[in-house]
Point group: C2
Chain length 269, copies 2
Amino acid sequence: MRQIYTTMEEQQYTYKYPRPAVTTDCVVFGFDGRELKVLLIERGNEPYKGCWAIPGGFLNMDENATQGALRELAEETGLILEHIKEFGAFTEVGRDPRDRVISIAFYALAKKSDVKGGDDAAKAQWFGLNEVPRLAFDHDQMLRKAMQKLKEDIHFEPIGFDLLGDTFTMPELQRLYEAILGVQFDRRNFYKKMMQTGILDEVDEEPRPIAFFGSHHEMRKMSIDALFDANPFPSRSDDDSRRRKGTLFTFNKQRYEKFKEEHNFRLEF
Amino acid sequence: MRQIYTTMEEQQYTYKYPRPAVTTDCVVFGFDGRELKVLLIERGNEPYKGCWAIPGGFLNMDENATQGALRELAEETGLILEHIKEFGAFTEVGRDPRDRVISIAFYALAKKSDVKGGDDAAKAQWFGLNEVPRLAFDHDQMLRKAMQKLKEDIHFEPIGFDLLGDTFTMPELQRLYEAILGVQFDRRNFYKKMMQTGILDEVDEEPRPIAFFGSHHEMRKMSIDALFDANPFPSRSDDDSRRRKGTLFTFNKQRYEKFKEEHNFRLEF
DNA sequence: GCAAAAGTGTTTCGTTTACACCCATGC
DNA sequence: GCATGGGTGTAAACGAAACACTTTTGC
C-alpha cells in the first residue's frame, strides 16, 4: 500500500481544487470443490483496524486502475492474476470516515494453483460466502455487488473455468456453476449443454501440466504438485476427496473464441 | 463546471500523496423515431477546444458520482434526468494531456420531452450515431462502450421505454429496439413478446399528460404540448410523421416490478 | 383510389426440461 | 457388498421463429 511513495513522505501535492483520493479494490473468488470462497485481508491500520476487508489500496499516478488493483492484490495477498473485471465505482461521500475516497472495484477468479501462501499473504484468508464477517467501509455492499455481477457474467462468459484447475471433471464444473448461481442442474442436461458448446476437450489422463507463478517480472516454473504441496487450499482440504474421480476435461480457449463469434458473444446456461 | 468553487479560486488543496482528478461523464441517448442519437457538447476550453465531447466535468467533494454526473448534465445541456447508469471507469494514464484524470462514465436515456433547448444547451447538439465527429479525450471509446452496454442491458431491463414519450405505438417501440440492437424483428412476434410481459397498457386516446422540468430545486409544470412547441427534437422533426398512428401504449411500472420478481429479474428479447 | 404502414393467428421447428437405469469406485 | 457418485438417451412441453392477408390512414 503506497510503498512507492514512502521515500516522498515529506513531499506535498497541491491542487487548485480539492480532489478525492482514489483507491482500487478487488474481490477475489475461489472454489474448493463445494462452495465459493472470497479472499479477505485483515486491516492493520485505522480506520477499521483489525476488521476484514477486500484487498485494495491507493492508485498510483503511473498506473491505470486495473494495474493498480493487480499490484495491490499481489502486495496484500501474494496473488498474481492476469484477468480482473471492473464492476463498479463506489463514490458515496461518507464511505471512508477520514477523507473523501472513491474506489474502483474489480472482481477476480483464482484457481487453487494461483494461491500462494506465506509471506505477504499472512493476513489474507479465504472465507466461505456464508461465513464472511462484517467488513470495513462499504465492502459488504461491494461484495454483494461483485457476487451479483459474477452471477450475471457467468451466463455469457466461460469465466467459471478460471476457478478450476487446468483439468476438471464435469461434476466439479457443475458444482461450481451451482455454487455461483445458487441453483441445481440436472446432470445429463448440464453435460449436454456444456459439450455442445464444443469448448471442452476430454483429457485421457491427468497431464500434470506446468504452472507459472512468481512476481510480476520474474516468473518461475514449478509443477502443479509442488504448488499443491506448498500451498494447499486453506480450509477443508479433505474436500479434495471429491475431486479426481471421473473423466477429466480441459477448457479449449481457441474453440471458445470461435464459439463466441458464431453465437453473437453469448454463452447461455 | 466547477461553479461551486469559483469563490475559492485562490484556495489551495494540499495532500501528502498525489491524487488524480476525478470527473464524471454521461453519454445521453435519444431516439427520433428512426435512429438513435447521442447528445454531445462542443468544448469551449482547452484541451480539445472546439472539439465535440460527452458532457461531464469534475466531481465535487459533497456529491457522489451519480449526483455529479446529473449536475454536470444539467449545467452543460439543460437536461434534467433521474436515472443514469454507470458503465465503467476510464483510467488510462495519458487520457487527459494536461493532468492525471480518471472518469466515471454513465449513460442515460432521454425522452423527447426531456429535451430543454436554449440557454445552457447552446453548445449541446444531437448526433446520429453514424454522424458522430471525432471526440475529445478517449470519448470515442467511451461512446462505443456505452452503446455496447445499452445493447446488453436492454435484454434484461425495459430501459427502452425511457427513450419514448409517455405513450407510444407498438411500431415505434419496435423501431427503437431495432435501432438499439441493430436487427429486424417480425412484427407479430414482437407484439406477442411485448404483450405477454404484461408490462404494457393499452391507452384509448392520447392522455396529454403533465410533464415536469426545470432546475434541480425549482420544478415547473407545463403541458407536453408546450414542451414540444418550445423544443422540437433538433433534426428531422419531419420524422414525426411516422408517429401518432395506431394504438397507443404506456409502460406500466408497477406490473414491471412484479414481472421482474416472477422472472428472476430477466426480461429477454 | 392508391400506397404505406398497422393489426392479427397458426404452424413449424428447435431448445429446454424431465426423467431412470447401469457402472465404477471407495469403504 | 453396499453406498456413493459417475455416466448416458429419449420423450414431452415449451418457447421462438416463420409466415400472409385484411384494415386503416395519409397523400
